[in-house]
Symmetry: D2
Subunit: 291 residues, 4 copies
């Protein structure tokens, strides 16, 4: 009847893995959330309920735990080992995608056996795709919440009949950074901490005339300092902080008291890329559009 | 330096709008969450902080409220009116994307002025893109939670050295449906309630050998019954319900008592499409990959 | 040193249990979240790490699953059976508290094997305490989201120097009801559906001059109709719906378009009780103050 | 009819306030969520819809913003100023309760104008009640997530017919601390950072035989070091980390790889108090039972 199966994938999502390296005097703690997805020839499962090609998602989960036994290392490398194994498990599997989020902990006592979560929200992330034997790696972070109390303005925007926003030459700028960046060579990656530092430093020091400008500058700083990074996508919600009107109570408010609204929020999304970057292939597939 | 701006968009996310139609004897209540995004030439904002092209996200929000004053109608039409206006607001804006989620309410008394939320979680959705004067419409739903107590098996899958899952000929199958479907003609759309009914009926009645099979059958049913639907994408988490082992307490458990785990979960994503469907254009851009 | 152990309890929280009754032609599905807590003499565990008195929370979890094997019935009765067992398990356990939330499902096909969640948010609740052989039962509900488009005003409130709110004679009133009610006789309980209907009907029909008035009327209606209910506690957030100002765009807004803010919200909490009600004992202990 | 109004309170919940102190060379940022509640004679509002006594929750919100204009200081002091004002606003108001949560930020550049959230989840908290002219202050924290990789066992617990848990002499122990502590003199408070450090240090260093033992030791350490603290309540979820069974794949698992389940979790709640502590009065009213 002309009805056909289109693109599809399946896997196990949000496997929570904690791995402890007890070999040194101080324990090392790795706290990961891992998701897997397989692509390939799964038509018979969809169209006839024939599971001969379906590597069970439970098996994929087991594989993640088994691989964690051998040590995690950088999450990009852990993802690569897993994706390579999954993509090569059976001939009908053409591609595997592994997403890893790492949740940070800090040691809190001298002996190195006790830890405190250093941020419930921030995570280091990796998205690894192995497709037809080729490797694609996105490094990233999410939940990095930044705010500056000055050095941000917003003016000169067009005014149509629905425009009521006043121009401002000094506002609070606040966001929660989601960023992903692509490496020219998956095996030769800029240090994650250096990229993170570049993002923070640029946010902090740029005299921002628009969150778009901040976004581009953050991306540009990363690409400028790290020649191996060929593309970065950023998603920056604008968490509006608005001066509370205190004049009804006979008070001024010289940029002291702000109310913060949860919704709606501005959402600025963009890509900064290197001219002549190698093709992205499936690196961004099944990844939210801008990060 | 060879560093350039790539794809980008910006807008206002999650505008919470409630509109009441008081013209009839029974009030009509519409509860929407609306997000907008603009694409076009915003290079100067990114690269020089020049906002002359930046229609403020606050203005976009105002526009949504002003348009709601004239009535909402079907959310696809509301999205189309908004997207057409936004895309045409200034020459440098080439495309506008409007996402609408509608939250359902039921009247709870005879006079039609009191309502109860009929599902905190389920929403009817629409994603509308107007790009270079062309219209693209995705209808959809999210948060439709379905479960069947029988009529689902999972067997015949390959067993590698990491496979421990037993085959089952009768399991609970549970999911939370996210679906989006594309119309050949944005103005001639299959009724939303009919598509929703087809999804539910297929889930309920198919003797399922894999969640992949259920996914395909759900999509196929929609396309078969509604010739104007040319493509549907489904994302189906497999919310595992596992029989609790009661044998240590000397009890059997004949498919009576199950534990439910939040994470991890299987995630089955796929597309069912019509041969020769008109090209999707930017319809799915900036939409999570499979719905 | 004068430092002593004060009140304490421990148990297993949020055990997710699904039970299927397959004995009839139509399956019955029960979806519960159960929490347990024990009180008694656990001083040695706290002060010396001696666990001889500590019935493991894992054991408590197993007990919940084992008891579900024998059928659930009304959640208050299920709670009573569990609490009686746990409180009587060892002589040093003086009290057990079992909280149950039931999540509603509706059958969606004629054969009675497929179900849809009829509300992600609403739950029927029970809090059962067995203490020194006496039983205390609170029935309740949470997440019942109600809204009325007319029949609500707010005026006549005092105006001090911080008051800016205008009086209104016709506003939207919206809330999410959390309610718990106490029975004179735990074994002779008003039907849950009747109490729920009384709450909804009163919210819908009362011409409300304050959410406090609505709260009291809702509670009074329950007590008036159900002599066996001796006390009800209600917690009603005031989910503010505020008319959006459209005058800057040359538009009126005759109670048509509202914006909805997530936070802050009013929070109205209160108790309606029967004169001469039997003492509550520990019924409300470890329960949030007003419901 | 013998139906009467029982305990009640009302106020504005979750007011999001950000205050910036720009008077020094480095800005100081305070990020608060404030909730207020009033108690007193509000019977007419409940029973007749007469709002003459109802200080509007909108006014309470305005009051919070106005007071923030004068500086925040320690959140306990901010809460005291607010509660004193609200409780004294009108003769029929007998008590006011103010809850404050402070969200931490860290400066991220040398000039002191840019900040990063140092923990999405952790908050410093205060609950202040002014009742009939007397002040009650609880200091606290929530969302402090701690884990130790060794130094925790669980054995010697009773085994009934539902017990399947194996004893362990070396497990991971992980929790998210919620704690509140009461001061003998609200104006002479132990430094918050010192109490927090005592909680962390005790968790880290105690060789724990039960989470109950850890809870008591944490509370005892605080009371021992800070004579002005007369009572502390702790709520410690036991976030189970369970060794993944790798034997089906021919692998050992020497305390290396753990899976983490979201639910259910143990929940250990307790109080450590000082003999002869002054009475708590309404300090804990409307506060979840154990913190």
């Amino acid at each position: 009847m002309g009805i056909v199966l289109g693109p599809n994938q399946y896997g196990k999502a949000e496997i929570r893995v904690v791995a402890v390296d007890r070999t040194g005097p101080r324990h090392e703690l790795r706290d990961l959330t891992v998701s897997t997805a397989l692509r390939g020839d799964f038509a018979a499962a969809h169209q006839a309920g024939d599971n001969a090609h379906v590597l069970a998602t439970d098996t994929q989960k087991n594989t993640v735990f088994a691989f964690a036994r051998d040590g995690v290392g950088e999450i990009e490398d852990f993802g690569l080992r897993l994706a390579r194994h999954l993509a090569g498990a059976y001939p009908w599997i053409t591609a595997a995608r592994v997403e890893v989020a790492e949740h940070p902990w800090q040691q809190v006592e001298p002996h190195g056996h006790a830890f405190a979560r250093s941020g419930e929200g921030e995570a280091r992330t990796a998205v690894v795709t192995v497709d037809s034997g080729r490797r694609y790696v996105l490094s990233g972070l999410s939940g990095l919440v930044l705010l500056k109390t000055t050095g941000s303005s917003f003016a000169g925007f067009p005014r149509d009949r629905f425009t009521t926003l006043a121009e401002t030459d000094d506002r609070i700028l606040a966001t929660a950074v989601t960023a992903r960046w692509r490496h020219a060579d998956p095996a030769d990656r800029a240090p994650h901490s250096a990229v993170r530092a570049a993002l923070i430093e640029t946010f902090a020091t740029l005299d921002s005339k628009a969150l778009q400008q901040t976004l581009y500058a953050m991306g540009e700083a990363v690409l400028r300092r790290h020649p191996g990074v060929v593309e970065i996508r950023l998603s920056l919600p604008n968490r509006h902080h608005v001066q509370q009107d205190l004049t009804p109570f006979g008070r001024d408010n010289l940029k002291v008291v702000y109310h913060v609204d949860d919704r709606p929020y501005g959402l600025i999304e963009g890509t900064v890329t290197r001219d002549g970057a190698p093709p992205a292939g499936p690196a961004w597939e099944a990844t939210p559009a801008f990060c």
